[in-house]
C-alpha cells in the first residue's frame, strides 16, 4: 500500500489530492496512519504503533485498517499498482 506521492496532508487532518482536485477530512488516528504510510511504513509497523498507543486489540484494528485502506483506494489516493 503506497499513497500517491503528491497527496498533501495538513496537521489538522485536511487531505488534498492535486490530481483530482478533491479534498478529504481525517480523524486523528487516520492522520497518524496516513503520515506513517507516507513514511513508507507497512501494515505491521502501523499495527504495532496503534496497539501501543490506543486501547484496542489487534483483530479489531486490523479489520478497521483494511476497511480504511479500502477507502483510500476507493478515493484513488493510492498508487495504481497497489
Amino acid at each position: 500500500m503506497k499513497l500517491k506521492k503528491n497527496i498533501a496532508i495538513s496537521e489538522s487532518g485536511f487531505v488534498f489530492d492535486p490530481t483530482s482536485g478533491e479534498s478529504f477530512s481525517l480523524n486523528p488516528i487516520a492522520i497518524e496512519i496516513l503520515n506513517l504510510l507516507q513514511e513508507g511504513k507497512g501494515q505491521i509497523d502501523i499495527s504495532d504503533f496503534v496497539l501501543q498507543k490506543y486501547d484496542v486489540d489487534r483483530d479489531t484494528f486490523e479489520n478497521n485498517y483494511f476497511d480504511f485502506t479500502g477507502m483510500l483506494k476507493q478515493f484513488n489516493l493510492t498508487e495504481k499498482n497497489n
Partner: protein, 451 residues
Amino acid sequence: MEKAKYERPLINRINAGLPDKFGMSRTMEAITHIDTIPVKDLIDEYGSPVFVLSEKTIKDKLSQAKKAFTTRYPKVQFAWSYKTNYLNAVCQIYHREGSWAEVVSGFEYDKAIENGVAGNHIIFNGPDKSKDDLRKAIKNASLIHIDHFDELYTIMELAETMEETPKLAIRINMDTGIYPQWDRFGFNYENGDAWNALTRIMLNGKLELVGLHTHIGTYIMTPGAYGIATSKLAQLAVRIDQKFNHKIKYIDMGGGFASENTLKGAYLPGTDTCPSFDDYAEAITNALINSEINPEDLPVLFLETGRALIDDAGSLLGTVLANKRLADGRRSTIIDIGVNILFTSFWYEHHIVPAQNTTQHTEDTTIYGPLCMNIDVIRAAIQFPLMNKGEHIVISRIGAYNMTQWMQFITLRPNIVLIDSEKNVHVIRKNETRESMTDLENVPEYLNPSK
C-alpha cells in the same frame, strides 16, 4: 501508561456546500440513560434488543394533552386507543389516569373487560364486530360506533331479541380539505349516507343514538382539518335535535394527532413541524363552542389519541452486530433490530443515536437490521458516529404501534420493560422462546421424525 481511547480511522470526502441525502454533518448526542437507568444496565439485565417504556413520560404526555383540552372545553373524556399499544400494563396506566378504552375488535374488547374497564366505558369501533361481539357490547352498555349498514341491521336484529337498548353512534367520514380523505370507514357526510344512517337509528324505537364519531386520518399535520370535521359533526347534532328533538351526548373526534417522529420524505424534522396538543385543542374546541349547539347542551368531547400520547414513552435499545462497506464505499452498520420488531421504520426516519459518548466524527451510513432480507433497512441514509461491534444504540419515539404491529419473523420478539415512576424496572412482556411459536404447531403423525 494508560492507553488512549480508540476510534477507528476515518476518511470522508468533503463536498463543500452540497448537502446530500445523508444531510449535513452534525454532532449526535448520545442517550446513555433512560429515566436515570443506564442503557447498558438495561441491556445487560434484559438482553438486546429490548423495548423500554417510561411511565413518567406516559403520564406527562397525557397530562399535557388533558390540560390543552380541559382548559378550553368543559367536558372532555380521553379513551385509550388499544391498537396503539395494548400491553395490559400500559392500558392500566391510562385507565388509572382516567382514560376509557377504545377498541376495534373482539380481542381488544375482551382485553379491556379483563383490564377492569366498565362496559359503559368502552368505545367499540372498527369494521369487524361479530354478532357475538355486538351482543356482548349491547349487554354491557358499551358505546358501539357503527361502521356500515350491515352492522346497523345486525344491531337492529339483536335489539329485537334483547332487553337492553343498544347505545349507538355512527362513524362519519368527510371532506376536511386534506389528502387522502379516509372514506373506507363509516358513513359519508357529503353524499347523505351519514344522515340516512342517523335517521334510521332515530326512527327505530329500540335503539338509542348517543354520539357522533369521526376519525379523519392519521398523522394529521393540519389542525384546521379537525376544526372542519368538528363543525360538520356539530351541524349534524343540531339537525338531529331540530328534526327529532334528541340531544347527542358526545362527539368523538377520534385520533390521528401527529407525534414528533419524522416521516420519510419530510423536508424538516418532525420536532420542528409537529403541531402541539394546544394547536389541535384550539381547532376542535373553537369549532364546538362556536357551533349552533345550545351552550347548555354541549356534548362531551371524546378523544381517542394514541400515537401522540405514547410514541415518546417508548425506546428500543439494541446492539451493533457488524460494520461493512457497500460496493460504492458507503458504510453499512448492521444492528440487532429489524423491521420485524420496528414496523414503524417503514414510514419514519427514526431517531437513532449511540448509547455511549462518541467523537464528533461521523460517516455516511446505512443502518440495516439483522434479517436475511433486502428490505430490512432501519435508516437508508444517516450521518452516524463511528461505532464498533458490540456497542449499543437507542431508537427513540417508538411507543406507538410497534408493540402491536410487530411480527415474529426470523427472530423472536424481545422483552418489553417498564420503568415505573419510582424508577423500578418491570418486565411487562417476556421475550419469546422457540416454544412460544412451536407450541402452536402440529406435525401430522405421518411426518413425525420419530416415526
